[in-house]
Symmetry: C2
Subunit: 491 residues, 2 copies
Amino acid sequence: MSKEITSREKDYSQWYNDLVIKAGLADYSAVRGCMIIKPYGYALWENMQRQLDYMFKETGHSNAYFPLFIPKSFLSREAAHVEGFAKECAVITHYRLKNDPDGNGIIVDPDAKLEEELIVRPTSETIIWNTYKSWIQSYRDLPLLINQWANVVRWEMRTRLFLRTTEFLWQEGHTAHASAEEAEAETRKMLNVYASFAEDWMALPVIKGVKSANERFAGAVDTYTIEALMQDGKALQSGTSHFLGQNFAKAFDVKFSDRDNQLDYVWATSWGVSTRLIGALIMAHSDDDGLVLPPRLAPLQVVIIPVYKTAEDKQKIDSKANEIRENLKALGISSKYDDDDNKRPGWKFAEYEMKGVPVRIAIGPRDLENNAAEVTRRDTKQKEMISLDGIANTIKVLLDKIQQAIFKKAKDYRDAHITNVDTWEAFEKLLDTKGGFLAAHWDGTAETEEKIKEMTKATIRCIPLNQPEESGNCILTGNPSNKRVLFARAY
Amino acid sequence: MSKEITSREKDYSQWYNDLVIKAGLADYSAVRGCMIIKPYGYALWENMQRQLDYMFKETGHSNAYFPLFIPKSFLSREAAHVEGFAKECAVITHYRLKNDPDGNGIIVDPDAKLEEELIVRPTSETIIWNTYKSWIQSYRDLPLLINQWANVVRWEMRTRLFLRTTEFLWQEGHTAHASAEEAEAETRKMLNVYASFAEDWMALPVIKGVKSANERFAGAVDTYTIEALMQDGKALQSGTSHFLGQNFAKAFDVKFSDRDNQLDYVWATSWGVSTRLIGALIMAHSDDDGLVLPPRLAPLQVVIIPVYKTAEDKQKIDSKANEIRENLKALGISSKYDDDDNKRPGWKFAEYEMKGVPVRIAIGPRDLENNAAEVTRRDTKQKEMISLDGIANTIKVLLDKIQQAIFKKAKDYRDAHITNVDTWEAFEKLLDTKGGFLAAHWDGTAETEEKIKEMTKATIRCIPLNQPEESGNCILTGNPSNKRVLFARAY
């Protein structure tokens, strides 16, 4: 191996960092908590963006762009929101630098102090609802279905590449509706869009559910979530969709006149996923040799590597490789022919394994004679000699197969890690051993949830949407409960 | 007309603002100098982005993402750069808000002061070259061809929607090379990409040239520019490409070992275009009835409007309109059927003229009987009865024709407004009357350029790349000159 990475077993967290850095997805920056998304990582994000954007537009949404800055006073308008978001944020207090008259380089110009400080958006509900006030007058202006692709900043104390960074990229949908029912339907519709994207594109099985009050978005009436399980048994919240009721409409005085000319406050939703999804993707599928990427999102789907000794052999392989690439391209499959002379085939094999390229084709002179090539799947490492006749079609089928296999593997793991637990002893023990989701009864109070979190670091990830009613007793207090909820330690 | 806009003749500047607001491209925000890009304006930007991104990738560039924040000290590293960019910028001094103990809402927490202030990026050379230091060791790491789509902030005192806003969206390319020649070639290549995009997609004729030292990017050795002419005779800088020499490599100590194992500083370029291009697009083509958009970038290319009295007629038109839309879609043409009952055809005609939709199709019951529809071009307002047989193909041809016609009209105007001027008297007079580009001799000194700017508000827009040598005398000082340069008042 050209680059060594720590094994999952030895140090899962270090394995993750090694992967991100050595596969060339991201890098640390000179700014505390901010990361650099490198070309390979950004290409992955572009593929995710493209599909999500398509799904948002198919469901009737348009993109728009709102200011990066939010006046400090806006945050205070919605009581719960300010508690959640005004704490750790980047505050702009001045708008000019100047040369220090004492010759100490450049300093903040004290004469350029803002009358009201600006906050770098941690999320855009406030600036957007302040705008919607002038855009919405009547039911004819509704629904208003808008999405924004943007960067946001939350001053996190402990950061991890992709999973938790001070600045991150995301999309935030902000919709306005004439009724609670319509807004709730939108909230669930977008949760389903996220779940489909996670499962069909990221090959990431997710559980759809509702958050408990403790874990709700600051300012929401209800927060829906998709929760995924990582290979270390910890959960990762992968997308949230919020029913905001009339909270922001009231905070920003956004009313509409309905068909009967009655004034009422507008109903709202917001929903978002971020570059955090890249972290989920990495942790759900990858192994000790590097990334395992789902073919539908991989920046590079197929790599072709020549194995040769003479220039004559090389020439023949070149020509066959080009032909294969043409045929792959015609099927919409991205490929690269890596004939870099400075690196040996073995080095390249390891490199593209590290990068998670789903399929590798190796071609040598003997293979050409046999009209075949060695095709290796990244997920299982299985090698197979494949006929060169119609190899592009064979690979198209194989890519689909890999996509399904990755999903199935993650789903089998996830399903095997949802455990019904009925005693506190088992609850504590399982968290420390097996991990995963623990389906347990809970008395429905914030106090109990808080206590469990303090005692075990486990939180309620969600109350699954399809959870059957079942009478039982709270795992901690023994008080009656009518439904199990999913607990887990989480990222 | 449903919405009135000021005529160009009456008040060009108000005409522009009216257009932006009433066509629904953008809106003012609660944050000084920041705008909201509305869905229609953002759809235009997405179309521009998609094509530019394609062109960047075709020329070998990859996208990446660097932090929004720049440590204050980074700006000081390059002497010219700090002069240009450290002046008016958003400065982050704190990272937390808290509840005021005296009950005055939320305040900046004085305990959360940053050790070093952060600047919201006005451009990213410094943070990127600080990163390149760890990415570049050898000639094998070069060229490094990276682009970033991002928001940037420059604290402008006087702002105008799209043309000059505190926050704007742009792309910034940052490339690293092993030789000056290669970097210079890249600088010119990207200038050509911008020029092709402007002319072929925006239908905006541009003049390619080099900036004088006064107008150079802060930190560049040479700044290349494309300059366009607006309908009021003022120029608009539409894109710049900078040859940065080794300035940033020296400032951030970025060296590489060449093929002979000799260490040298890396050569750099940077280049960018922004949402300002939307302002150029509006001002170059639009008229007193609204936007005129080039078909290749228009968010909506064709609108179909039914004109009917009875429900029976409506039904027949519906079915024909759907058929036309299907056929247009198959040709890759976007269309909308506006059968909103609440608005009259005349209102809709005006509305889509305002929005600059290139082609309008109106269909009434008599038209159906004649197997024809009334097709109106937005640019010339010409109406024509077109046979419904193969109408989608006819419209495809028409859209191309409109694209060419808009370009030709803008080019004819521009060409008619490049005037050779040889006396100071004529120079001053033409600026106040005809406007446009004045091709005049200049003695090559910054002092003369500065003086001309003070006296007339005209600046040197560029020294055109193809400008012939010609001996003459400076328009102001009479000193010898070997080439005309282009002066203009500019946005």
